[in-house]
């Protein structure tokens, strides 16, 4: 179990989301970056669907009430302070053991969103098949809200080693080649109401930069910098129909909104374009003031990108290495080199 000591950012419990209830108005929710979520879970040997803590703005300060193994993914670094006051670093893209009484102090989340996984998974009740927080209707996660000071977070499946911090230390893993944030244009498909917009609006969307405004949360990002005009024959309203994360809808003022994980299930604004699934995690990392560019692709390219993302994730999970093992590949490699030098000397 861990306790939240300080929480100045926006931290919520998230997993892979809550599909299957959108016909009842229940949003998909789930991690803004499912790839980072799955990597965090892999670093503590959780199943990919285990619930983690999604962190935005700045990470919390946590106190270990029992020995735990945690992992960080994303642009966030931390340090671990022991009861005696000893400090050790807690880098991202690695797992770290905490002894009872240790404090994990996390810094600023620079890439927009980062994840903290706990071996065994965050234990909150399953609500409609998911542990993801949906704050607007106050369900899922911890009491349907963001984490706050004094919250105690239980661990779902206690590993048998619990109680032995040294055994947890031996399970620490690291990811040698972490994913880098992609700054290339975000790939979009023509949206269901593409023809409701002028050709100028479409060419501007796919060639000029838009800027993320301060109206940015888990429901969506409002974008500034370009006005996308509706074709006057259609106007700015449609009969409400289903929407999905990644849809770029444009209300009457011409300022687009990109929908994210917690978006409503239906909407009444025309959708000019839809971000492909493979690039959707990148929207979760977008910060106010950041410029975004979009480029058109077709469905075949979207599917190819989806396969590539899945293959890269699998390769990264396969590349995880123990942080301390005597059989660490780097250590063996170094040892062989030294042996080789010694042998050469003997031969001479």
């Amino acid at each position: 179990m861990i306790e939240i000591l300080v929480c100045n950012g926006y931290a919520t419990v998230q997993d892979m989301g809550r599909p299957g209830f959108r016909h009842l108005g229940v949003p998909l929710s789930g991690a803004l970056d499912p790839v980072f979520l799955q990597l965090a879970n892999a670093l503590v040997q959780n199943p990919p669907t285990a619930a983690t803590i999604e962190m935005r703005l700045v990470g919390p300060r946590l106190h270990a009430l029992t020995p735990v193994l945690i992992a960080l993914t994303g642009s966030v670094d931390g340090r671990i302070e022991s009861v005696d006051g000893d400090l050790r670093p807690a880098d991202a893209w690695a797992s770290h053991h905490l002894r009872t009484g240790d404090t994990l102090i996390l810094g600023e989340v620079q890439g927009g969103v980062a994840y903290l996984a706990i071996a065994g998974g965050v234990d909150v009740p399953l609500v409609l098949g998911s542990r993801s927080t949906y704050a607007r209707a106050r369900f899922g996660g911890l009491e349907g809200r963001q984490l706050a000071i004094g919250d105690k977070i239980k661990i779902a499946r206690c590993p048998e080693q619990l109680g032995e911090a040294d055994a947890l230390r031996d399970r620490e893993l690291r990811l040698p080649d972490p994913p880098r944030l992609d700054r290339s244009p975000i790939r979009v498909l023509a949206g269901p109401q593409r023809e409701h917009f002028t050709t100028l609006a479409w060419s501007r969307l796919t060639s000029e930069a838009l800027v993320v405004s301060h109206q940015a949360d888990r429901m969506g990002l409002r974008l500034n910098g370009l006005r996308l005009d509706h074709d006057p024959r259609y106007g700015a309203d449609i009969v409400s129909e289903a929407v999905t994360p990644g849809a770029i809808q444009v209300p009457g003022d011409g300022r687009p909104i990109v929908l994210l994980a917690d978006c409503q299930t239906v909407g009444g604004y025309p959708i000019i374009a839809t971000v492909i699934g493979a690039d959707l995690p990148r929207l979760g990392h977008a910060l106010p003031g950041q410029a975004l560019r979009f480029v058109e692709v077709d469905l075949r390219q979207a599917l190819a990108a989806r396969h590539q993302t899945a293959a890269e994730l699998a390769a990264r999970i396969a590349s995880l290495r123990p942080s301390h093992s005597a059989f660490d590949a780097d250590a063996l490699y170094a040892a062989n080199l030294i042996d080789g030098v010694i042998d050469a000397n003997h031969a001479a």
Partner: protein
């Protein structure tokens, strides 16, 4: 209008049967939903006013196979007409009208040139279709209202509509499951929960394709029903019309 397919990104496909709010058109959407059935790889099937959107996992179900099935479902609705499917339920929803529970009843009466009791009577005399669920979990869009009750939205939306409020605007009615901002006219309140996580099989009381008739109740009955709902002693089936 001829049915059209539109891709909503690489994980959703929308079958569009028309472009207006219309009971008969919505009934065809519901019939298409019932005809489609569940294919492996479909995650959500979302009926709206005049479209049916299917969210799918392209690693399991190809877009073309889904498109074929959606087209077949659309064709079936033309042959089967718009008969209401077996999945639909007819609900009788108890409502306490006026006073603090329906703060806009007097305004609506004045604006429509009726007495308050005539507004209630006219509303309760109509059988309303559940066009779709959206905006918030369990929020039903109901219609169409009798002509004499149709008003534009309030000029100033409320920031806090109380949960369970029954509201009207234009040709539509709705019931708010949660506290929320809203610009519709509030006529009353139901003691029933529109969204209940204690019923995980179907947390929303209403589903698209159901029909709703409002039934006026008094203060005492409202209090009794509300207490029974809180105690979990009120089966939903009690409010199915026979």
């Amino acid at each position: 209008m001829k049915p059209r397919l539109r891709d909503l990104g690489d994980t959703a496909l929308t079958l569009e049967l028309g472009d207006r709010v219309d009971v008969a058109l919505n009934a065809r959407v519901i019939a298409a939903r019932d005809a489609l059935g569940m294919l492996p790889g479909i995650t959500d099937v979302v009926p709206t006013y005049c479209s049916l959107t299917v969210h799918y996992d392209p690693a399991i179900l190809s877009r073309d196979e889904l498109a074929e099935n959606l087209c077949r479902a659309a064709e079936l609705t033309l042959f089967q007409g718009t008969s209401v499917g077996t999945l639909a339920a007819r609900w009788q929803i108890p409502v306490l009208f006026g006073g603090e529970h329906g703060p806009d009843l007097a305004t609506v009466a004045r604006a429509t040139g009726r007495s308050e009791s005539s507004v209630v009577e006219t509303l309760c005399g109509a059988e309303l279709a559940v066009f779709m669920i959206g905006f918030m979990p369990g929020f039903p869009y109901l219609g169409e209202l009798p002509e004499g009750l149709r008003l534009p939205r309030r000029t100033t939306p409320r920031s806090d509509v109380p949960p369970h409020s029954v509201a009207i605007a234009g040709a539509q009615a709705a019931i708010y499951p949660w506290p929320s901002p809203g610009g519709w006219h509030l006529l009353g309140q139901t003691p029933l929960r529109m969204f209940d996580l204690d019923q995980p099989e179907r947390p929303a009381l209403l589903a698209a394709g159901d029909t709703v008739r409002f039934a006026p109740i008094g203060k005492h009955e409202f209090a009794d029903l509300a207490a029974a709902v809180d105690a979990g002693e009120l089966p939903r089936a009690k409010f199915l019309a026979t």
